[in-house]
């Protein structure tokens, strides 16, 4: 499965547009992480627990999007975008969407 956030794929032609596919996830870290983050707010620096959370969420949202694309019989997703929203403290909603397409390699 080719996943890009551009509208075209170099060397490939889009044969068929299957439509919008999307994946979302809302994840939270345990309380210990939140407390650690609170302490980190004193001296600054990276909050690796929350970075991990962001990476996990992004990965899961993408996976769900790709599963949908596979179901539609697509072999690529183009023009992928991410958005987020805050639903509650310590949790993040990550939403990935793109257009599932069937592509063919140019000869």
């Amino acid at each position: 499965m080719i996943v890009v956030n551009t509208e075209t794929i170099p060397g490939y032609t889009i044969r068929e547009v299957k439509g919008l596919v999307q994946g979302n996830t809302i994840r939270a870290k345990h309380l210990g992480r939140d407390v650690a983050a609170g302490l980190k707010n004193l001296v600054g620096g990276e909050l690796s627990g929350y970075t991990e959370l962001l990476i996990e969420s992004r990965r899961q949202a993408l996976e769900r999007m790709l599963a949908q694309a596979e179901q539609l019989g697509a072999n690529a997703v183009v023009n992928v975008r991410f958005t987020t929203s805050a639903i509650t403290q310590g949790a993040a909603e990550l939403y990935a969407y793109g257009t599932a397409v069937v592509t063919e390699q140019e000869s």
Binding site: P10, N41, E46, L47, L53, F82
Partner: protein, 158 residues
């Protein structure tokens, strides 16, 4: 005199601690960023949506880089003071810069691991993990960068 000192003392100690440790953390981070950026200087980075003409037709993929950075107590205090009179919040500007550069560097590093020569259509986005905490005078930046990693037929110019 003593009750006053006891009241203000912890606050001052926190401020001084945050100023020294936070300042040290920030300088170290900027140094690290510069070193990693100099290693990635040969990568082409653009937010154009179209591929350069010398792009190889091998499959390329989405690359991302994410980071969450906390503000320190001194920065937050300085910003709170500043927002009373308005104007530029310099202490938060460097925080945003650090987050953006770190996210970009991480994205480029993962692109390099894929053997890419550049990243096209780069986008930045922010997330809100500690949104309510932010109101309690403790800012954090959640930044992520993403783009499409590509290989080139020959070395890109520039």
């Amino acid at each position: 005199m003593w009750p006053f000192l006891l009241q203000v003392g912890p606050f001052v100690i926190l401020l001084v601690l945050a100023l020294t440790v936070g300042g040290f953390v920030e300088r170290a981070h900027f140094k690290r960023l510069e070193r990693r950026e100099s290693q990635l200087r040969d990568m082409l980075v653009t937010d154009l949506r179209t591929f350069p003409p010398n792009t190889a037709s091998s499959p390329c993929g989405l690359v991302t880089g994410e980071v969450v950075i906390a503000s320190d107590y001194f920065k937050s205090f300085a910003a709170a003071l500043r927002s009373m009179v308005g104007g530029e919040l310099r202490s938060f500007e460097t925080l945003m810069e650090r987050a953006r550069r770190e996210a970009l560097v991480r994205m480029l590093e993962s692109a390099r691991r894929l053997g890419a020569g550049g990243v096209i259509n780069v986008r930045f986005a922010t997330s809100n993990i500690g949104s309510q905490r932010r109101k309690r005078n403790a800012a954090m930046v959640e930044m992520y960068a993403y783009g499409t990693a590509v290989r080139f037929k020959e070395q890109p110019r520039g």
